[in-house]
């Protein structure tokens, strides 16, 4: 007869063995074989009653397991970590809620009965003591729930409305003034476009979190790209030691690196290789500065029975929350004292109660600190080759322009109305006076005209006309206009478009099918030269270069080729220009530079452009000639641009700026899901595609086939993702109108 307790412990060991085998996927077979043999022979003996002291033996068996696990823990690779966080035995958010918090109430639905079961939202309480007094500190806990492999949880892949729900409750927390704890356990978002749309909702979340006026702590277990960013723009970002944080899943990276077609599978070697080179571990990310702290997990990763780990986690989230609260204190002395007290490792945080509410001033400081924290990130990942002199001049000029602009906009604009009324009134008086004075002369002149009766002649005489805008000549023609060949419009089957002659199409027609209006893609230069006033474009920061911050194999060469092909140093060109005399700052993402992917350099230029627009109080246009997403070969250096650039946008908009986004050709993934998608004014050029993930990725991750025009701008417009669709030839006129009407009288400045 076997003791029930022993039986349970054997089952537990069997589970540990399965886990060990799973996460190493065939590696370290000798160790797992040994454990398996020993466990098998132990249970055999047990069943045949050959064991005299089962309690001692099972304990030594457990020790052996622990020993092997500890030994193997040092050889856990990046890909092993991916398998760890995705393993059904991995701790999930419910385990954390039960073990880290004292009580909790789920508010985002329950299990299957939830808007989106892959996200879990709970009002939780942490109880702390000071002396004899007990304090209940409420927090809003939000995170993806993988639910130990429960199918309906969808692996923690959140649908657009799930992310919207998360944002809704972040706002609730803001209203209630309680901190937010975000647990990031997602392989990535569910990439569908149904309202509110994967990309657009993530963008809204990031934008919202960039200005949320309560402390946010993010704890990252599985940080899969955009899905992770949707809830991780935090004051403190903590990573679990066995987690990963990456711009893309290693499988996704392998599919791109291996140039796989739909349905093909990447080899496991390539996936391992990508996982390694993407630098996705906690240690890597701490080194880059994208996380603030690592919480050590038990060997081979935390599982629900690691109760000690939950205690550590509780300590660390409390400490992190306290630290954020303390960092907002206005008095430096008190701040330092508190910080020192908390930094002591022996400090018992359960008894060091700190009030988690914040004053209005502290809230503003909190948001400013958070924004600055993100703006500082990744500066070293882009190679900034601007001469020192330029940088100093930039700094100097900002000292001069700032006060001038604040006079011009803050003082003058405020009083402008009064000044204007005064001038107008004076002018009126003068005109009336003049009219009276000259009236005898006018009568005389009128008389002469009547006599001549020159009306008929005037109606047939050549009139004065200087600008003939009808036969508009483009300032720039695509070089393809020189090639004598015809092209077939992709809509020809539907609309009966005849083949178009290249020289007409790429010259006079501006790439637009003259039968159906389909827009063939044009070069970025076409826009630079034809949209803005002639010779008004002045590029800045062209010296900031795209590089290879992760030393991704063979990538230096590929970046160099892209630079040569485009004649630019990065995929983002930033410039100052004018449209009908209105000055504007433009960040242009070029689809011709590695698909228009955004890395550290592009992000850096975008942030600089937004800051320049803020400083000069100009409207800011993001023209997306095309973007395939974040540049995966830069790993989290690229991913971090999502929150970073969004912070820059938010600061610009809150300073009163007009931020307009114009999508062209194909715009997908990270950029749309952050600093582009968060703009209140998004337009698309006709025939463009906008979305989160392409058809291949959707098929791969969701198993769904999507209809052919799923990502077309018209669909995006119908779904409410964008505000309008523009004809390419009308971009200039539409922008002019947008700047005048949306920007209002004072152009863009409120």
């Amino acid at each position: 007869m076997i003791d029930n307790n022993i039986e349970k412990r054997i089952v537990a060991l069997q589970e540990r063995l399965i886990y060990l085998k799973d996460i190493f996927a065939g590696k370290h077979a000798d160790d797992s074989d040994l454990l398996q043999d020993r466990l098998a022979s132990f249970s055999r003996k047990l069943r045949s009653d050959e064991v005299s002291d089962p309690y001692t033996d099972i304990a030594s068996m457990e020790d052996l397991f622990s020993y092997v696990e500890s030994k193997l823990d040092s050889s856990v690779t990046a890909m092993d970590r991916v398998r760890i966080v995705r393993h059904p035995q991995r701790i999930c958010l419910r385990d954390i809620l039960e073990n880290v918090y004292d009580t909790f109430t789920e508010v985002g639905g329950q299990d299957e009965y939830s808007l989106d079961p892959s996200i879990l939202i709970a009002r939780a309480v942490i109880t702390r003591h000071r002396g004899k007094k007990t304090y209940h500190q409420p927090v809003m806990v939000i995170g993806q729930e993988k639910g130990h492999g429960a199918e309906f949880r969808n692996g923690g892949s959140v649908k657009p409305w799930g992310n919207a729900k998360a944002m809704q409750f972040m706002r609730v927390a803001e209203t209630e003034g309680i901190p937010i704890h975000c647990y990031v356990c997602t392989p990535g978002s569910f990439p569908i476009e149904d309202y509110p749309g994967a990309a657009q909702q993530i963008a809204r979340n990031i934008y919202g979190m960039a200005g949320l006026r309560v402390p946010i702590i993010a704890i990252i277990s599985e940080g899969g790209s955009g899905g992770a960013e949707a809830i991780s723009l935090a004051d403190k970002r903590i990573m679990l030691s066995h987690g990963y944080y990456s711009v893309i899943s290693p499988e996704g990276a392998a599919a791109i690196e291996g140039h796989l077609k739909e349905g093909e599978r990447a080899s496991s070697e390539l996936i391992e290789h990508c996982a390694e080179n993407l630098h996705i571990t906690a240690k890597d990310n701490l080194g880059f500065g994208y996380i603030d702290q690592i919480i050590q997990e038990p060997p081979l990763g935390a599982r629900p029975w690691h109760f000690e780990f939950f205690r550590t986690l509780r300590q660390e989230v409390i400490r992190a929350t306290d630290e954020v609260i303390i960092s907002t204190r206005a008095l430096p002395l008190l701040k330092t004292l508190a910080q020192n007290r908390h930094a002591r490792p022996t400090a018992n945080l359960e008894h060091l109660y700190i009030h988690w509410g914040l004053s209005a001033g502290a809230r503003s400081r909190l948001v400013a600190l958070r924004q600055k924290k993100f703006l500082r990130l990744s500066r070293s990942a882009a190679s900034d080759k601007r001469p020192m002199y330029n940088k100093v001049m930039e700094l100097l000029s900002s000292y001069i322009t700032k006060p001038w602009n604040s006079f011009k906009y803050d003082f003058y604009r405020k009083h402008q109305r009064k000044i204007q009324t005064f001038v107008e009134e004076i002018d009126n008086e003068w005109e009336t006076f003049k009219y009276r004075l000259l009236s005898p002369w006018r009568k005389f002149k009128h008389g002469i005209e009547k006599k001549n009766n020159a009306k008929g002649e005037a109606l047939m005489a050549l009139s004065e006309w200087t600008k003939d805008s009808r036969r508009k000549k483009w300032n720039y023609l695509s070089p393809r206009y020189k090639i004598d060949k015809t092209l077939t419009c992709p809509n020809s089957a539907e609309y009966g478009c005849l083949d178009l002659w290249g020289p007409d199409l790429f010259g006079e027609f501006a790439g637009v099918c003259s039968y159906c209006g389909y827009h063939f893609p044009m070069e970025p230069e076409w826009y630079v030269r034809n949209v803005f006033d002639k010779d008004s474009v002045i590029e800045f920061n062209s010296e900031i270069e795209a590089g290879n911050p992760l030393s991704f194999p063979n990538f230096d060469e590929r970046i160099r080729k892209a630079q040569e092909k485009n004649g630019t140093r990065s995929g983002c060109m930033t410039f100052e220009a004018r449209i009908a005399g209105i000055k504007i700052i433009v960040a242009m993402f070029m689809g011709t530079f590695r698909g228009g992917s955004v890395g550290a350099a592009e992000g850096c230029k975008f942030v600089e452009a937004a800051e320049r627009a803020t400083k000069n109080r100009y409207p800011f246009l993001a023209y997306v000639h095309g973007t395939a997403g974040m540049r995966i070969q830069e790993g989290t250096h690229a991913l971090i641009q999502m929150p970073r650039c969004t912070v820059a946008v938010r600061r610009y908009i809150e300073a009163g700026g007009l931020y307009v986004v114009l999508y062209d050709t194909n715009s997908f993934a990270g950029p749309v899901a952050s600093f582009l998608g968060c703009s209140p004014y998004q337009f698309a050029v006709r025939s463009s595609n906008i979305g989160f993930a392409g058809p291949g990725v959707i098929k791969e991750t969701t198993g769904m086939d999507i209809p052919p025009r799923y990502h077309r701008s018209t669909e995006a417009l119908a779904r409410g993702h964008i505000q309008g669709i523009w004809d390419r030839r009308q971009i200039r006129a539409n922008l002019k109108q947008a700047l005048r009407t949306i920007g209002g009288r004072n152009l863009y400045y409120r």
């Binding site: 008929g456 109606l459 050549l462 009139s463 009808r470 036969r471 083949d499 002659w501």
Partner: protein, 487 residues
């Protein structure tokens, strides 16, 4: 067949002698037949086109007869420029004749013909001239800059409401001062054309609302809210001046005037007469001879100014007060060129084939005669014979022609692609013209008389799917013959 990108002897098409050329006839029906005959007469080989819809047309028979079995290619559409280029290359053509309609006034087509890798000659004015004179505003301004009279009103798009109202007011007042009882103002989208976005205003108070409607329509439809405001002239005769010039563009000559005032309700010409007026036989309320001289002079002035380098027609309207106004320039050969040709003599040689002249000059020959050597004799008349119902808004009749014949006469030239020896299903794709009858007489009386003799001799019968008999405009032509050249 291989595509040949180099011409014989490596010469550019301009450097070839005209008989070394090969002309692609990029048209159908009677005009294709006239071009083929002209080429044949000049000793120039040609290639012709047809579509499956149009395979019963006589222009296919004529092509085979004059050019042999291999000179005819089936294409998907006459409207597809790519088909024309492709066949031209395959058949090694060096020049393209567009005829009228289709690509005749398409400057992009002309530009493509001359600018593509394998360059050819476009038999018509150079593409820049087509573009310049194809733009009505541009033409109007050019005319005004040369003192050529144009319809009173704006000569540039008006964007400002106050200015628009001012112009409209002036036009109303001007007409009143001219004694016009029901003055009308025309408001049209400057970027429009083909009758879209045009409205008449008879009441000055109504102008503003019409103006706004047209402006909004123009903005929606053409992305340009400019409008033109002109006098609407109702009582006028439609005259035109035939101009022809060689590639130098320096010595344009004219082949007189034509009167095309007898039209369908949809403003489609039905009878054309050369010359434009008959001051010797008929009474006019104005000096008709002077009007004819003036419009010819004005047309030549403009042609010289732009360096016009092929055939073209200056279209005029002449009011009852005898004022001519330039309407537009047609930068192509016109349907009715034959009436001018039939009354013309060059250096004593009778009747001129203007299409042959067009081809000859288009391919680079010099004109070889002066205005002084061109003389005219008699009156020419052209009937456009069409299956349509003049009583019912000229609706085209569709169906099968079963019998079609007429009595040949020495003074009659019948141009038709409709077979007379077999039934013919009228294709629905194209202009409904069935035949052109050109009649010559030594004076107006004789021409009218012969016209009626011809019309009486014609037999045109058939029926449609529901068994209804063919309707034609022959009665309409007959009734209107008495009216010709009267104003």
């Amino acid at each position: 067949m291989e595509k040949d990108t180099v011409h014989q002897d490596g010469k550019t098409p301009e450097a070839l002698a005209i008989t070394d050329h090969k002309v692609l006839v990029a048209n159908r029906g009677e005009i294709a037949m006239r071009i083929m005959r002209a080429c044949h007469g000049l000793g120039i080989p040609f290639t012709a086109l047809y579509t499956a819809e149009d395979s019963a047309s006589c222009h296919c028979d004529l092509a085979r007869e004059l050019g042999g079995e291999h000179c005819l290619y089936r294409v998907s559409s006459y409207h597809d420029a790519n088909e024309i280029m492709s066949v031209a290359d395959a058949s090694e053509c060096t020049a393209v004749h567009p005829g009228y309609g289709f690509f005749a006034e398409d400057f992009r087509f002309a530009r493509r013909v001359t600018k593509r890798d394998r360059k050819m000659i476009f038999i018509g004015p150079s593409w820049k001239i087509i573009r310049e004179l194809g733009d009505k505003i541009n033409t109007k301004r050019l005319a005004r800059s040369l003192g050529v009279p144009t319809v009173p009103g704006s000569d540039r798009p008006i964007y400002d409401e106050a200015e628009a109202e001012h112009i409209a007011k002036s036009i109303f007042e001007f007409q009143e001062s001219q004694g016009i009882t029901h003055p009308l103002v025309l408001v049209k989208a400057s970027a429009g054309g083909g009758g879209m976005g045009i409205e008449e205003v008879y009441d000055p108070d109504q102008f503003r609302s019409v103006y706004r409607r047209i402006r909004n329509y123009a903005l929606r439809q053409f992305k340009d809210e400019g409008v033109l405001i002109e006098q609407r002239i109702k009582d006028f005769n439609h005259l035109e001046v035939q101009i022809i010039s060689d590639r130098s563009g320096k010595h344009p000559v004219h082949f007189g005037t034509r009167n095309c005032s007898i039209q369908s309700t949809g403003r489609q010409k039905r009878i054309e007469v050369a010359p434009g007026f008959a001051p010797e036989t008929l009474d006019y309320s104005f000096d008709a001879a002077k009007v004819l001289t003036n419009i010819v002079e004005y047309s030549l002035t403009m042609a010289t100014k732009v360096g016009y380098d092929n055939v073209g027609t200056w279209e005029w309207i002449v009011t009852r007060a005898g004022e001519p106004f330039l309407m537009e320039v047609n930068t192509r050969i016109q349907v009715e060129n034959g009436v001018s040709g039939c009354i013309a003599h060059v250096a004593g040689r009778g009747s001129v084939d203007l299409i042959a002249e067009q081809i000859r000059l288009g391919l680079g020959e010099e004109i070889g005669y002066t205005q002084a050597e061109i003389a005219t004799e008699g009156v020419g008349l052209e009937y456009r014979i069409i299956a349509e119902d003049p009583a019912n808004n000229f609706i085209p009749w569709v169906g099968k022609i079963e019998r079609f014949h007429w009595k040949d006469q020495p003074w009659l030239t019948m141009l038709t692609h409709v077979p007379t020896d077999r039934p013919y299903e009228i294709p629905t794709e194209f202009d409904p013209n069935l035949a052109l009858a050109i009649i010559w007489g030594k004076n107006l009386e004789e021409t009218k008389e012969r016209g009626k003799i011809f019309l009486d001799s014609i037999v045109l019968e058939g029926q449609n799917a529901s068994g209804e008999a063919l309707r034609s405009n022959i009665e309409f032509l007959k009734t209107n013959t008495d009216q010709i050249l009267h104003f």
